[in-house]
């Protein structure tokens, strides 16, 4: 076993080390984290077991990488062939994972797009891809960061921008954009990763003014978080954002599909297979873009292909991902905006909680019960662990606010946050670990050894016991703003997390021995 591993490594080292085959993403090796979620499932779960609940308190800093910028890191780094690719708006670094030495850095030219955040990069063969604040897609040579091509995905002058980490499926590079301040159709595009040519475009909503549109006049539904993929069904799952105008629901009657939805799309054609709407007729900016986590597991006694989502509107959904049928809907945080759950498993919005001239006190607040930060599914315990917030906001809309863009006003009132572990079969919260007032920004990573890595709402990175949420380790790094990743390199397990504008790598002080593993 060991001998075969070594010889393969040698062969690859000589011949193919630096070229990333898209097939790698089907079963990523443990020495990689080759895509935003680590793999196609979106579980953000590592099979690595060196770091355990018993020894995690010993982990030590292997290295830190300083971006020397004021921009907070919100991206998931990716790792292939011993090189880490890390992004912030306009910037991408290639970092030697063994030394934290910068191999190269590429900075996109100054531009007018929103510099609000960036989720991460993608790789294909010898190319690395970066989306930009002005909604371009740039292909870089993975060796040295030289620009191969640079294309406009959509016209940023219309109000689009992009923070998206592209998703590679075979020869399809699938990219989403953002755009909440204008009445713009929701756009997801597939590009040829070699040439940058457009293969297909999926619109979650039609252009403004399209007669007879199913969206009921709504635009929006931007797909700004990386989707997940089931190779057997050949379906891509993506969450869509809020409708526009954002807070003015009167201007767009009805449910406004496919905004605030989970859509299943054929990655070869861009055709919609099915959609499910976590927030019909949203008027609170509750994107349903949160990671659609794919789980193959038993549900009510039968094996099922499941899709789990902890949605920004405070609800936890379990769907059958073959057809989008709802199996379970519960809440995982404070919610006061519904009149119940309909026959399709969708929350029924209470019209009295739509933004009004005199203000409505609504839970969750606009930041949501959760947000872009990734949850993690632990197959051993059947727990979906999510950084959640119980929050209240004030929502206003009057006719003077118009029907364009935000079209209203809203203000955060108060929130308190917790890491919550949800039993996927019942939706019941198995444990809730308080992380303070305000909202946490850290995502979650679970390990097969039973450790949950995340961060609190103040400035601590945390390791919790996955079974019960007990704190096992912490480090005060400053506010964590991304979702951790894990990999094994040269026989050692690493955990990467970002706080502020620096990236931190943690590992055990010495490689574990056989005696350790027997314990």
């Amino acid at each position: 076993m060991m001998i075969r591993f070594v010889s393969l490594a040698l062969l690859c080292g000589a011949a193919c080390a630096q070229s990333v085959d898209p097939g790698l993403l089907l079963k990523p090796p443990s020495d990689s984290w080759p895509t935003y979620h680590g793999d196609y499932s979106g579980q953000r779960h590592t099979s690595l077991t060196q770091i355990t609940p018993a020894n995690v308190h010993q982990i030590t800093l292997a290295w830190a990488f300083q971006t020397n910028q004021t921009q907070q890191i919100k991206a998931s780094p990716i790792l292939v062939n011993g090189v880490i690719y890390l992004t912030t708006p306009d910037n991408i670094w290639a970092i030697d994972a063994r030394t934290a030495r910068q191999l190269w850095k590429y900075t996109y030219p100054m531009n007018e797009g929103f510099h609000i955040g960036h989720r991460g990069a993608a790789v294909y063969r010898d190319s690395v891809f970066l989306t930009t604040p002005d909604a371009h897609l740039v292909a870089l040579n993975a060796r040295d960061g030289a620009v191969k091509w640079n294309i406009a995905m959509v016209d940023s002058k219309r109000g689009y921008w992009s923070t998206n980490a592209p998703l590679l499926i075979r020869n399809h590079l699938i990219v989403g954009v953002s755009g909440d301040f204008d009445n713009l159709p929701g756009v997801l595009k597939s590009f040829d990763p070699t040439t940058g040519e457009v293969q297909w475009t999926f619109n979650s909503t039609p252009p403004a003014g399209t007669p007879g549109s199913i969206s009921g006049g709504a635009t929006g539904g931007q797909m700004w978080i990386t989707g997940t993929y089931d190779p057997e069904l050949n379906l891509l799952y993506v969450g869509t954002g809020n409708p526009t105008p954002v807070l003015n629901g009167d201007a767009r009657k009805g449910d406004n599909p496919w905004t605030c939805s989970i859509v299943a799309v054929n990655p070869d054609t861009g055709k919609l297979a099915w959609g499910f709407q976590p927030s019909p007729h949203d008027t609170h900016d509750w994107d349903a873009v949160e990671v659609p986590v794919l789980v193959d597991a038993s549900f009510q006694g039968a094996p099922r292909k499941l899709l789990l989502q902890t949605s920004r509107n405070g609800h936890f959904f379990v769907l059958d991902r073959t057809d989008g049928k709802n199996l379970l809907t519960t809440t995982f945080a404070a919610v006061n905006w519904t009149k119940g759950i309909d026959a399709q498993g969708r929350p029924i919005p209470n019209p009295d909680k739509e933004p009004r001239r005199d203000g409505r006190l609504v839970a969750p607040n606009e930041t949501g019960a959760t947000n872009y930060r990734s949850p993690s599914f632990d197959p051993t315990t059947g727990l979906l662990v999510v950084s959640a917030a119980d929050g209240y906001g004030l929502y206003f809309f009057k006719q003077d606010h118009g029907a364009y863009g935000w079209a209203g006003a809203d203000y955060d009132v108060w929130s308190r946050s917790a890491i919550r572990a949800i039993d996927y079969q019942t939706g019941k919260i198995r444990w809730s670990h308080e992380i303070g007032e305000g909202t946490g920004a850290a995502g979650v990573l679970t390990t097969a050894s039973g450790v949950t890595f995340t961060g609190d709402a103040a400035g601590n990175a945390l390791a919790l016991r996955t079974t019960d949420g007990t704190t096992l380790w912490h480090a005060t790094l400053g506010r964590m703003g991304n979702s951790p990743i894990a990999y094994e390199l040269d026989g050692r397990q690493y955990i990467l997390m970002a706080a502020g504008s620096s990236l931190y790598a943690w590992t055990l002080p010495s490689p574990p021995t056989a005696a350790d593993s027997r314990n």
Partner: protein, 281 residues
Amino acid sequence: MHRSQVIGLAALILATPSAYGQAGPGGRAAGQSPAAKRPPATKHAQSYSAAQIQAGESRFVSQCGFCHGRDAQGGESGPDLTRSPLVAEDMRGNKLGPLILSGRPAAGMPAFSLSSTDVAAIVAFIHDAKSKAESAGGGRRTVDAEDLLTGNAEAGKQYFNGAGGCAKCHSLDGSFATVGARFQGLALLQRMLYPRIRDRRAAAPQVVKVTTAAGSTVTGTLAYRDEFTISLVDADGWTRTFPAASIKFEVDDPLLAHSEQLGRYTDQDMHDVFAYLQSLK
């Protein structure tokens, strides 16, 4: 062509100074809603070149626009800068410049690493946006005090003294009796719901009493708290920090009743209590 734009004069001419002051003697006629209160006017007339404003727009949109809106009238999380008192007081960046560079981390605004040229251009753009918002009459993405007056003050008084439990802490003996004169509209509603929203320091502090392992006690204002640490400012103004695991501590948060009430208010309760507080003058 270079074109200078003078900022602030229009607003100064349009409104009497009293319209911007606190309500009270010399203010608007009795019975007129404080909603008529306009955003604070630019205090110092200042002019910027069109080129600088244009350069500032480009930097503003990319760095600030998501939170504050492309037109500076408020975005996804940041306030409307055209109605900001700080912008009104600013003179060529003397207030805004330092704020942009240091940020307001506690309020979610990061520090920005920008050249003095970029900061000056952003300042020019913000002043220009304020001038434009004022000449346009405003009204977009704003909440006026009159919008909020849908409640019944008498019902609010009953809720205040009864079901809401507000009277357990608040009496009309002191300054609370005139709270409606000191705060109007959204500022009052936000303070009512959770006083720390508007001003962390002005709100009643959380008091913490720490008992050390050796048995001594230290009392002070809670300065920081997480799962691992309790930090307080003692009576002499010194910050003292303790590992949470090795001490005993009690936190008295006078605002706990406010956060707990958020899940209990109906919107009608909220508007009724607001109407009652707004009537206390």
